[in-house]
């Protein structure tokens, strides 16, 4: 096997490799930097994977002498964090790897005694040190600043407390591209994953959980208010929505609906309730997009659901600001209505309710979803800057458009990845079709 083939094999077999259904035919190391020279030798590599149609994707590898993933070795990841703390530049072939720290964070997790990888991650690799720090290594690289670094920095600077503080980052800069390679954050010790918490609580004490969702609404509203508060920073300055923005939204959602309905197979029973109803869904979209007031567009979370929250020390922490991994970096950085995040979270409540019988073997309490929605929205409206969102029934209509967008996205995702979950987005779409259009 040639070196190139070995590289293709290695990269395409990693769980973080995103294009498993495509044919990779080329691989090359574009640039690399030696992180550590003596045993074990560690290199950061930027690797380009070429596909049969001539397109390519770029990935970050951290490898040892044997060409294996060095992030599995605690010594290597410790080295990476040490480098990060030096704040120095490391020469690569053509460019440099830059390391940066945030003032006041150097004292956190000094020792780096124990390193443990986080399991179950899809697109990145994360390692926790002593339950104090977490290093997230981005695998798929795109030119430009990663939204996660940008958002955490902004939210930290503007005093938003419900995040895990940024401690440092590392990035590559050079003629091939500028790109963020990874971030170091404070680890939220004893943080309970919001999704797991939802399932556990719904089985045991739903009322207390719904009260927490009201708090989540408040935190979300406050997050949006902060994100839309700085007119001096062009990357975050809230903007008036243009006249064609609703048209652009309609067009992209409509295309997604059409594509997904083209791909609905005849053989899957769970799809029965929506099979052949693509036109009805598109019609619903057109009715909903007659939005009057439009609010403003801001930078937002971009992939907001219960799995992106932690419950710790009696409050919510919002994590993972990368945006939807399937979208390109310019798309993920795009300003949109904050209601897009709200819709994501509301869909997540529907998921929790539907997943409960599947995963915990119990039914959700009657009316849970409705109750959760209204509490979350009540909390949200209390704290969100009202000029950011549309007023009156336009609020409900725009929210419904984003919920529909999300449900269609979920449908595609479940059809491709988790057929046993298809019933959840199907039920969501059926429910939306049955609802009255808010007037």
């Amino acid at each position: 096997m040639t070196e190139e083939q070995a590289l293709i094999e290695f990269v395409t077999s990693q769980r973080w490799f995103g294009s498993k259904t495509r044919d990779a035919i080329h691989a090359r190391v574009i640039d690399c930097a030696v992180l550590r020279d003596e045993d074990p030798r560690i290199e950061v590599q930027i690797v380009e994977i070429g596909f049969d149609t001539g397109t390519h994707e770029t990935y970050q590898l951290v490898v040892d002498d044997g060409g294996f993933d060095a992030l599995a070795d605690p010594r290597s990841v410790r080295e990476l964090v040490h480098m990060l703390r030096t704040g120095r530049n490391l020469p690569a072939g053509e460019g440099v790897v830059e390391f940066g720290t945030i003032e006041g964070m150097a004292a956190v997790g000094q020792e780096l005694r124990e390193a443990r990888p986080i399991s179950g991650e899809q697109s990145n690799t994360s390692i926790v040190f002593d339950e104090e720090l977490i290093l997230k290594v981005f695998r798929r690289l795109e030119a430009g600043i990663n939204p996660e670094l940008e958002m955490l920095r902004f939210l930290t600077q503007h005093g938003f407390e419900n995040i895990a503080q940024l401690a440092g980052w590392y990035a590559y800069g050079g003629p091939p591209m500028d790109t963020t390679l990874g971030i170091l954050q404070r680890f939220v010790a004893n943080g309970q994953d919001g999704w797991e918490l939802a399932l556990d609580s719904l089985a045991r004490e739903p009322e207390g959980f719904v009260a927490r969702l009201r708090r989540l609404g408040e935190v979300t509203g406050r997050m949006h208010t902060v994100l839309g508060s700085d007119t001096s920073d062009p990357n975050f300055c809230p903007e008036e929505t243009s006249v064609e923005s609703v048209g652009l939204l309609t067009a992209s959602v409509d295309e997604e609906i059409e594509q997904v309905f083209l791909d609905i197979p005849d053989s899957v029973d769970e799809l029965g309730p929506i099979r052949g109803r693509g036109e009805e869904v598109r019609e619903r979209l057109r009715m909903l997009t007659n939005v009057g007031g439009r609010g403003r567009v801001i930078r937002h979370h971009g992939d907001f659901h219960l799995g992106q929250t932690l419950w710790a020390n009696n409050d919510w922490v919002i994590i993972d600001f990368e945006g939807e991994p399937a979208r390109s970096l310019p798309e993920r950085r795009r300003k949109r209505s904050p209601l897009r995040d709200v819709a994501g979270m509301l869909r997540s409540f529907a998921y929790a309710a539907s997943a409960l019988p599947l995963l915990r073997g119990v039914d959700p309490p009657a009316g849970f979803e409705e109750h959760a929605r209204s509490e979350f929205l009540a909390g949200y409206r209390e704290t969100v800057d009202p000029t950011l969102v549309p007023s009156g029934s336009s609020f409900e209509r725009l929210l419904a458009v984003f919920e529909l967008e999300k449900a269609v996205y979920e449908l595609r995702y479940e059809m491709n990845n988790r057929p046993e979950w298809i019933a959840i987005p199907v039920a969501g779409i059926v429910r939306m079709l049955a609802e009255e259009v808010p007037v």
Binding site: M177, E244, A251
Partner: protein
């Protein structure tokens, strides 16, 4: 890494897979309510351009100018026309475009300046001063009579008398556009400074206007001279030495044999427009025959690996008929310019939709052909929604009317009083902004805009359209234009029916026997290619694009 770092992967041939979009800044969007489009307005519309899939914006000249030639008469190379904003507005616009993954190139006129340019004024008044030799002066207006007159409708000669200096000055275009003297090394230096100034501001390249005419030599027609190529090679070397991933796009309205000289050996311009193929597409659709297109592509020489053709259906100028025979030109006038007002110089001053009688199948077919040919497509603002023209406006203004955003006042282009607009928007019942606008077409699933957006997205999934080889299939049915594009493992079969009626065609695909054609829009699989000719039937003006796939499903 600074936040202002670059937003692209290094790719010295990015332009080969790019979709270009040409913008007349004055007509795009008015950001300050003064009746004229500007950089702030354009910046507000970047989400739209990103959403329809534009990779590179090409801006018409935005420099200070008396605007006697739509800004191609530049009076100051280092600034922005006050109607359009400031250099700071420009910088912000470029940065915002880059952040959205779009690049920006701009028109630059190297051949001449406006007669208002301080260099020319100094040259007139002080023949022995530092600018005395910046232009081409002569005592005799009969020299270089072999050089043709380009603006036949307005210019009697390439020489004009200047009473101030008491000499004639040379101009290949309007008499208010004196040609710069490239035999003067100082002129060359000045022009390189201009290029650096804009590249330093983040511009990704230039469309070099009127590039064949830089030098004059006795006994020649003054076009495509060796000296011109030498200077362009110097420009390229200077740009490559200091900047990454920039592009020079030559506007040389010449025959393919002459145009390919502008690529040099991959060391001159990276791109050049393919002028002759465009009128032949219009001819092909009117005459229902593929031959004019097949022939001109056959006559097109190979170009260097790092070079690319720019292809277009329409642009801001007249549909130029310089690169056709006299017979062909008569035919084109007869078919496409029934009203004499539609003619201008050697061309037809109309937009795409009216040229094709607003026929949706024809507009789609022309775009499909454009997107399938080897080269990078250049769209002209407004054509994506099928905007019309106004032949009662002077010169080329008829194809430069305001972009139609909504059905609101002034087509959503400006909040200024109607009377203040630089040109009236289209208001007729067929092409007016009430009927044709971005907002409505975005919301209408079957609109031209939505269709084109899908076409662009499809093209971008397949680099073969920009990078692949081209091979014409020559079926017996002369009404079918069919060809194969190949890159890496991607094989695309494009079949276009130029006829107004349904057609059947048999294609010899024996070399691809065993592969399965998958229609690219609906992803429908067609019967496997066998030994026998492959039979296809196409509706009137219909087309198919197939990806030829190995049968992976067994």
């Amino acid at each position: 890494m600074s936040d202002g770092g670059h937003w692209f992967e290094r790719n010295p041939t990015w332009f080969k897979t790019a979709v270009f979009y040409e913008i007349h800044l004055r007509g795009f969007f008015d950001g300050n309510d003064d009746g004229s489009g500007d950089f702030r307005g354009l910046t507000e519309k970047l989400d739209y351009l990103q959403e329809i899939g534009v990779d590179c914006i090409w801006l018409l000249p935005f420099y200070p100018s008396p605007l006697r030639d739509g800004g191609y008469d530049i009076a100051d190379f280092y600034s922005i026309h006050p109607d359009y904003g400031t250099v700071e507005d420009f910088r912000l616009f470029v940065d915002q475009a880059h952040q959205r993954g779009m690049r920006v190139i701009a028109d630059l006129v190297m051949n001449h300046t406006s007669s208002d340019h301080p260099w020319f004024q100094a040259s007139r008044s002080d023949p022995t001063g530092p600018y005395g030799d910046f232009y081409v002066w002569g005592d005799d207006d009969t020299r270089w009579s072999e050089a043709r007159i380009i603006f036949l409708d307005t210019e009697p000669s390439n020489w004009t008398w200047d009473p101030a200096r008491g000499q004639y000055y040379w101009h290949r275009f309007f008499s208010h556009q004196p040609d710069l003297n490239y035999d003067n090394p100082e002129v060359q230096e000045q022009m390189l400074n201009v290029l650096r100034f804009w590249l330093d501001l983040g511009l990704d390249g230039f469309r070099l206007d009127a590039v064949p005419y830089l030098y004059e030599r006795d006994g020649t027609n003054g076009e495509n001279l060796d000296e011109t190529h030498e200077f362009l090679k110097r420009v390229r070397a200077e740009v490559d030495a200091r900047y990454q991933d920039r592009v020079l796009l030559a506007e040389a309205n010449q025959w393919p044999d002459d145009v390919v000289q502008y690529f040099g050996d991959g060391d001159e311009c990276q791109m050049a427009f393919h002028f002759p193929v465009m009128p032949r597409m219009f001819m092909g659709v009117r005459r229902e025959e593929a031959l004019p297109m097949i022939e001109i592509l056959e006559r097109t020489p190979e170009i260097p690996d790092n070079a690319q053709w720019g292809l277009f259906l329409r642009n801001h100028d007249e549909l130029t008929l310089e690169m056709v025979t006299d017979d062909e030109r008569d035919y084109m006038y007869e078919e496409y310019a029934k009203d004499p007002r539609m003619k201008l110089n050697l061309g037809i001053r109309r937009r795409l939709a009216p040229l094709l009688d607003n026929g949706r199948p024809e507009i789609e077919l022309m775009h499909a052909i454009l997107f399938s040919l080897p080269g990078s497509p250049v769209l002209y603002y407004g054509d994506e929604i099928g905007m019309g023209d106004n032949i009662y406006l002077g010169d080329r203004d008829g194809v430069r009317t305001p972009m139609q955003w909504t059905s609101d006042r002034n087509g959503g282009f400006s909040r200024a009083d109607f009377a203040r607009l630089y040109l009236p928007p289209q208001m007729d019942p067929v092409y007016g902004y009430q009927a044709v606008n971005v907002e409505a077409q975005l919301r209408q699933p079957n609109s031209l805009l939505r269709w084109l957006r899908r076409l662009i997205a499809l093209r971008k999934q397949h680099p073969v359209f920009g990078l692949g080889t081209y091979e014409a299939l020559r079926p017996e049915n002369p009404r079918i234009f069919a060809h194969i594009r190949t890159y890496e493992d991607d094989i695309i079969l494009c079949v276009h029916n130029l006829a107004r009626s349904a057609q059947a065609v048999e294609l010899d695909l024996s070399r691809w026997e065993g592969l399965i054609p998958e229609e690219m829009f609906g992803r429908t699989r067609f019967p496997r290619i066998g030994e026998l000719p492959y039979l296809l039937t196409l509706g009137p003006r219909g087309f198919f694009w197939f990806q030829l796939r190995k049968d992976e499903q067994g």
